[in-house]
C-alpha cells in the first residue's frame, strides 16, 4: 500500500507541475485513530509538494465522487455573467468511486473531459465499527466492510492513470445477505425494515453522503407540495422507501449512506436488494461501462413486470 501511495503522490505532483488539473480530490490523514478523510486541494494556489498530503491506506472508505457534481452544477442563485471555464478535477478513485463517477457521467452531471481519473487498486476498506467490536485489528478479513466483501469491481477500468497492485478476488456469492433477507416472510421483512428505521433521526446524512443523491431539491425537502411530514414513523418510512428506490440501477454499493448514518441503520440490505433486482430483472449492473443506459433512464416494452404483485394475505 505504501508503494501505491508513493506512486499516487508522484503522479499527483506531476499533474500539478504540468498544470493539467485545478483541483485534486483525494484522502488525507484524519484526526482520529484508523481514519483517513477526504481532502480537496486547490492546486492552482499550491505547489506540487502538496501531493505529500495525500494518503492511501485501508481507511480510505469515503466515496469521493460525492464532491464532483457541485464543481459543474450551475450556482444556486443564478449563473454569473462572466462564469469561469469549467474546472479540471483530478480524482482518486477506487472501483466503487469510479462506478459512481460513471453514473454521474451517464446522467450528464459531470463532463468526462474535465476529469482526470486516477484509479487505485483496492484490497477492501476496513470498517471502524467492526474493528471496535472485534478489538482485533490484525485480522483484516474479519474487519473488512460488508460492501467490500461483496465487491466485484476492485480492479478499475477506463481511468486516465492506473496504479496497479493487489486487488480483491471476486467473491463466489455476490448477494448472500440479500438472499438471506429474501428467504424471510414478507411480515418478517417489513418488521426488520421498521425496526431498523425506527432509530432514524431524519438527519439525511445517508442522502448527503450519497453521490447519486445530487438532486437540486430532494423530494424530502420540498415545501411547496410537501411530500413528507415532520417525522412520524410513516414519514420516515416514505423517506427511506423513496430514497432507496431512487437508487435503482444507480447505486454503486459503496455503502457511503450506511457509513454516514449515525444510528448505524442497516441501509445496505435494502439498496443491495435493489441492486440484485435490477440485475436480475433488467440485466443491468452499475459497472465500468460508460455507454450503458440505466433502467431508470430508459424503457422497453419487454421490461419485466414481475414485481407487480397482488398483496399477500398474512405473509
Amino acid at each position: 500500500m505504501i508503494e501505491v501511495q508513493n506512486q499516487m503522490r508522484i503522479l499527483a505532483s506531476d499533474l500539478i507541475r504540468q498544470k493539467r488539473v485545478d483541483f485534486i480530490i483525494g484522502y488525507e490523514q484524519g484526526t482520529l485513530a484508523h481514519t483517513s478523510r477526504p481532502c480537496i486541494i486547490d492546486v492552482r494556489t499550491s505547489g506540487p509538494e502538496v501531493s505529500e498530503k495525500l494518503v492511501w491506506n485501508s481507511y480510505c472508505s469515503n466515496n469521493l465522487s460525492v464532491y464532483l457534481q457541485k464543481f459543474f452544477a450551475p450556482p444556486v442563485q443564478g449563473r454569473k455573467k462572466d462564469a469561469a471555464p469549467p474546472l479540471r478535477i483530478g480524482l482518486i478513485v477506487k472501483g466503487c468511486d469510479l462506478r459512481s463517477v460513471l453514473n454521474l457521467i451517464r446522467e450528464k452531471q459531470v463532463p468526462r473531459e474535465n476529469l482526470i481519473l486516477i484509479g487505485l487498486p483496492c484490497t477492501g476498506m476496513l470498517d471502524k465499527k467492526k474493528m471496535e467490536i472485534n478489538k482485533d485489528e490484525l485480522d483484516i478479513e474479519k474487519n473488512i466492510q460488508d460492501s467490500c466483501l461483496e465487491c466485484r469491481f476492485s480492479n478499475v477500468k477506463g481511468v486516465d492513470f492506473e496504479i496497479t497492485g493487489k486487488t480483491r478476488e471476486v467473491p463466489g456469492d455476490l448477494y448472500e445477505v440479500v438472499r438471506l433477507f429474501e428467504a424471510r416472510t414478507r411480515k418478517d421483512r417489513l418488521a426488520y425494515f421498521e425496526k431498523e428505521i425506527s432509530r432514524c433521526i431524519r438527519c439525511n446524512a445517508c442522502r448527503q453522503a450519497c453521490p447519486s443523491c445530487y438532486c437540486r431539491e430532494c423530494f424530502a425537502d420540498q415545501k411547496d407540495m410537501k411530500w413528507l411530514g415532520s417525522g412520524t414513523m410513516s414519514d420516515t418510512m416514505i423517506y427511506h422507501l423513496i430514497r432507496i428506490f431512487h437508487q435503482a440501477g444507480r447505486c454503486a454499493e459503496c455503502d457511503a449512506c450506511f457509513r454516514a448514518c449515525p444510528e448505524e441503520i442497516d441501509l445496505r440490505t435494502f439498496t443491495r436488494k435493489l441492486a440484485k433486482d435490477v440485475e436480475e430483472l433488467f440485466g443491468f449492473v452499475t459497472d465500468f461501462n460508460r455507454e450503458s443506459i440505466p433502467p431508470l433512464s430508459t424503457f422497453s416494452s419487454g421490461d419485466s413486470d414481475s414485481f407487480i404483485t397482488e398483496p399477500e394475505e398474512g405473509g
Partner: protein, 343 residues
C-alpha cells in the same frame, strides 16, 4: 455535602422501588444495551443498568426537548392545547458533559435570555433529578476539560455518581440531590477513605486521557473579520448532513409546522432543525442568506463560540466529542478551533 455508597444491585433495587412511590410516578432513564448499542432507556425492573460504555450516541436533550413534539391540536378555528406530560423524571447515568449541557439549554428555554419561558421544556425539566455518572474511559474525541467540564464535573448534576467498580459513590450537589439522598437515606452506606481514594484514582486516569483545545480569547478572535476563504477551506469536504448538530447536546434549534388533514383538523408540531441545512434559512421568496455551506458552518461555530458567550455567558459546547466522532468526513471541531487560534 451529602454522600452515600450503593452497590450496583442495590441501585437496581432502589430504582425499581421508585417507579411508583408514595403515589407519585417517576420515569427513570438509565443506560442500557439493545442489540449491542448503548442507549439511555426508560427503566423497568427487568432492565439491567449497563455501566461499561463511554457515552451514548444520542445526547439526552431529547428527554426534555423531544425531536418531535405536538404543541397543540386544532379543529378548523379552534385550538386545543396539548399540555406537556407531568410526572417526575430521573435521569441516571448520563456523563457529566451532557449534564452540563442542561444548564445551557435551561438558559435558552427559560425566560432569561429570550424573554420567553417554554412551558414544554420547563414542565419536564423542573420536575427532574439528574444523576450523572463520572467517566472512567473517555472516548477519542472528548475534550470537556477545555470547556470548564471534566470527568467528575458536577455542573448541571443534582448528584454525581462515581463508578468504583462494584459500587457507586453518590455526591449531592444541589438541594434536589440532597433530598434524593435524604429520602433514600436508609439504603445508602457512608463512604470511607478507601472509597474516596478509588474515586480520585479513577478520575485522574480519565482526566489524563482527554484531549485539549484552547478557547482563550476565542470570542475576540472570532470578531476578527475571518475571510470567506477561511470558512470555505474548512468546510470544503463538509456534506451538510447535520449530524454534528442533531447529535450535539447543546444544539437546540427547532422548526414549527402545522400538519393538517383534509377535514381541517390537525396538529402543530415542533421538530428539531439544524443550521447545517439550506432550508433552515430559506426565505419564502426563494432567497437564501446562507445558501452555501461555508456560511452555515460559520453560523454553527459563531453561535457556539461567539454569540452565546455574549448572550448567555457560556460557550455552547461541552466537549462531548459526538460531532468529532460521528462526522462522516472527520471535520473535527477541535481542529477548527485550533485553526482559529492560529495554531
Amino acid at each position: 455535602m451529602k454522600t452515600g455508597i450503593l452497590t450496583k444491585p442495590e441501585i437496581q433495587e432502589l430504582f425499581s422501588s421508585m417507579i411508583t412511590k408514595n403515589g407519585e410516578e417517576s420515569r427513570i432513564f438509565v443506560p442500557a444495551t439493545i442489540e449491542g448499542r448503548v442507549i439511555l432507556e426508560e427503566f423497568s425492573p427487568e432492565r439491567e443498568i449497563f455501566y461499561d460504555f463511554a457515552n451514548f450516541l444520542r445526547p439526552p436533550k431529547g428527554i426534555f426537548f423531544p425531536q418531535r413534539e405536538v404543541l397543540c391540536s386544532f379543529e378548523q378555528e379552534r385550538a386545543v392545547e396539548v399540555p406537556p406530560a407531568a410526572g417526575r423524571i430521573i435521569i441516571f447515568g448520563i456523563r457529566p458533559c451532557d449534564a452540563r449541557s442542561f444548564l445551557f439549554l435551561d438558559k435558552i428555554f427559560s425566560a432569561g435570555s429570550s424573554g420567553f419561558a417554554d412551558p414544554y421544556y420547563l414542565g419536564r425539566r423542573e420536575n427532574s433529578v439528574i444523576i450523572s455518572l463520572s467517566c472512567i474511559e473517555p472516548s477519542e474525541g472528548c475534550f470537556c476539560t477545555s470547556l470548564g467540564g471534566g470527568p467528575g464535573d458536577e455542573s448541571g448534576s443534582d448528584i454525581v455518581a462515581f463508578d468504583l467498580g462494584d459500587r457507586l459513590l453518590f455526591e449531592a450537589h444541589s438541594a434536589k440531590g440532597e433530598n434524593f439522598i435524604e429520602e433514600n437515606t436508609t439504603e445508602f452506606r457512608q463512604p470511607d477513605a478507601a472509597d474516596q481514594n478509588a474515586k480520585k484514582e479513577s478520575l485522574q486516569a480519565a482526566f489524563n486521557a482527554i484531549s485539549r483545545i484552547s478557547t482563550d480569547g476565542l470570542v475576540e478572535k472570532l470578531d476578527d473579520d475571518f475571510s470567506d476563504s477561511f470558512w470555505e477551506e474548512i468546510t470544503a469536504t463538509c456534506l451538510g448532513c447535520g449530524v454534528c448538530t442533531y447529535l450535539c447536546p447543546t444544539c437546540h434549534c427547532f422548526d414549527i409546522t402545522d400538519e393538517k388533514d383534509r377535514d381541517g383538523t390537525g396538529t402543530r408540531v415542533r421538530t428539531w432543525d439544524s443550521c447545517q441545512y439550506p432550508l433552515f434559512t430559506m426565505h419564502a421568496s426563494g432567497h437564501n442568506p446562507r445558501a452555501e455551506k461555508k456560511q452555515r458552518m460559520r453560523q454553527r461555530i459563531m453561535h457556539k463560540f461567539s454569540y452565546t458567550p455574549r448572550t448567555t455567558g457560556d460557550v455552547f459546547c461541552v466537549g462531548c466529542g459526538r460531532c468529532v466522532r460521528k462526522c462522516p468526513v472527520n471535520l473535527d471541531i477541535r481542529e477548527v478551533i485550533r485553526k482559529i487560534n492560529g495554531e
